[in-house]
């Protein structure tokens, strides 16, 4: 397996404060990697660094073999921001139609993607009138329209009911099976078990990376919540 993302000694300073203190992270192609950590741990900053939207202080971020932010990557990487970044005064189809034209993909992708995120039947509805979960899925759809090689999703499942969450994780794995790499952030530990690989972030440092099973075994914990706590203690006692 090749490496889709390679982060080396990444340091980011925001508002005069260092928020990422030298991150090293590799993400394998075709995997679903979960970036887990509490609110304020630096997840969004790390994701923004990967899509090339973040000014970094030092270190390197390589994406699909190119430095993050390279123009060529703009059509190969899909990004869903944490807040649903779609136009509330457009319908679902109008939103996706616009993004599909920017990404230069055919109109058929709009219908397919609507089905993929289970928004069928709501195509003509204004985004402003959608529920929080529907809005999040519309925002996700906009990131998937051109089936990018790498999909970076910032908390895509917040506010979704368990059935929909289950469905979305299923979708993520189907995309991964087709070769897409997914980097998904979440602050909910019960989503960790659905990832192939986990990266645990806390206070701008990576506590640990590995498969869920590896992390459980390493900490001798019975669930990932406990594993996270054990890793935090391990880190602070060093």
């Amino acid at each position: 397996m090749s490496t889709a993302i390679s982060v080396r000694a990444l340091v980011v300073v925001r508002g005069g404060r260092e928020v990422l203190h030298g991150i090293d992270l590799d993400v394998e192609s075709g995997s679903v990697t979960g970036l887990l950590g509490p609110s304020g741990s630096g997840k969004t900053t790390l994701l923004r660094s990967v899509v090339g939207a973040q000014i970094v202080a030092s270190g390197s971020v390589e994406v699909l073999g190119l430095p993050a932010g390279t123009p060529e990557l703009r059509s190969r990487v899909g990004y869903q921001t944490q807040a649903p970044s779609v136009y509330p005064d457009l319908t679902i189809v109008e939103n996706l139609d616009y993004f599909s034209r920017i990404l230069d993909v055919g109109q058929s992708s709009v219908g397919e993607t609507v089905d993929l995120v289970a928004l069928g039947g709501l195509e003509g509805q204004l985004a402003a009138t959608l529920s929080g979960g529907e809005l999040a899925r519309l925002s996700l759809a906009a990131a998937l329209l051109n089936r990018p090689e790498l999909v970076v999703l910032d908390e895509p499942t917040v506010g979704l009911d368990p059935v929909l969450r289950q469905g979305l994780w299923q979708t993520f794995h189907e995309l991964a099976e087709q070769g897409t790499t997914l980097l998904v952030s979440s602050h909910v530990m019960d989503e960790a078990s659905r990832c192939d690989v986990l990266a645990l972030l806390r206070d701008g440092r990576l506590l640990a990376t590995g498969t869920p099973a590896e992390l459980l075994e390493r900490t001798g914990s019975s669930d990932l919540d406990a594993a996270f706590l054990a890793l935090v203690e391990e880190g602070s006692s060093e």
């Binding site: 090339g52 939207a53 703009r74 921001t81 136009y87 005064d89 319908t91």
Partner: protein
């Protein structure tokens, strides 16, 4: 830049407006109502209406597009759609020109409506050419748009963006020569008005409205107005950063 992405952006902006009929009605009706008001106000001195009527025709789109653009662009920044767009292959030029096309179309409709009303029903004399007045109105709309775009970079909230209207636009209207002729202004006021773009936009319109030949200064006015538009668009483009802190 790509024509397809530029046109898609223009279409998207127009679609957003279409879902907001109240704004469209306000954009189109308010200038008409104001022009009727001016006409009624100067019933007893029609020469004053003749003098300010044509310039006003060109200034309405300037003010309207300044406000509309500064608010829409601020929304793009705050909602995260701008950040998303800038991670896609969309060029900054595509975004700006897309906006310009959409708002120029709206300004054309707006100017055509007020012109038809003013020249048709209110008896305003178009001077040299009604078409030229509408053309200048569209140019002013794009000037207002480019300044609004630039101003939006300095607003953090919609409250601030709205306040930029009186801050950026009102002084220009006061000093452009519409209220007091520039020759009658104190020297320092005239100096300030000489560096404000609206002064030139107003002068061009006033020259069109008068019965005397427009003169060489008219072309200088056009040059300055379009030059400022290009500079403001370039500055606006510079405020759209793909990488932010």
């Amino acid at each position: 830049m790509s024509p397809q992405r530029t046109l898609a952006t223009a279409r998207r902006v127009l679609r957003q407006l279409r879902h907001d009929p109240r704004t469209v009605v306000l954009l189109l009706a308010v200038p008409c109502v104001l022009q009727v008001l001016m006409h009624a106000l100067f019933t007893n001195s029609p020469q004053v209406f003749q003098k300010v009527g044509v310039p006003l025709l060109g200034l309405f789109p300037f003010v309207a597009m300044f406000i509309v653009t500064s608010i829409t662009m601020l929304r793009e920044r705050v909602s995260g759609t701008l950040e998303r767009l800038l991670t896609t292959p969309l060029g900054r030029g595509d975004l700006l020109v897309g906006y310009a096309i959409a708002f120029a179309l709206v300004a054309a409709v707006q100017a055509a409506l007020v012109s038809a009303l003013s020249f048709g029903l209110l008896g305003l004399d178009a001077g040299h050419a009604a078409v030229a007045v509408v053309g200048l109105a569209i140019a002013n709309a794009i000037l207002g748009m480019s300044l609004g775009l630039f101003a939006s970079a300095f607003a953090r909230t919609e409250f601030q963006a709205v306040q930029f209207m009186p801050a950026f636009v009102l002084p220009q209207i006061l000093l452009c020569g519409l209220i007091v002729p520039r020759d009658a202004m104190a020297g320092w006021l005239r100096a300030i008005s000489a560096v404000l773009p609206l002064t030139y936009a107003y002068d061009a319109l006033a020259r069109l409205a008068s019965s005397s030949p427009v003169g060489a200064r008219f072309w200088v006015d056009l040059l300055v107005t379009s030059g400022v538009t290009v500079v403001a668009l370039a500055l606006g483009a510079a405020t759209l950063r793909r990488r932010t802190p």
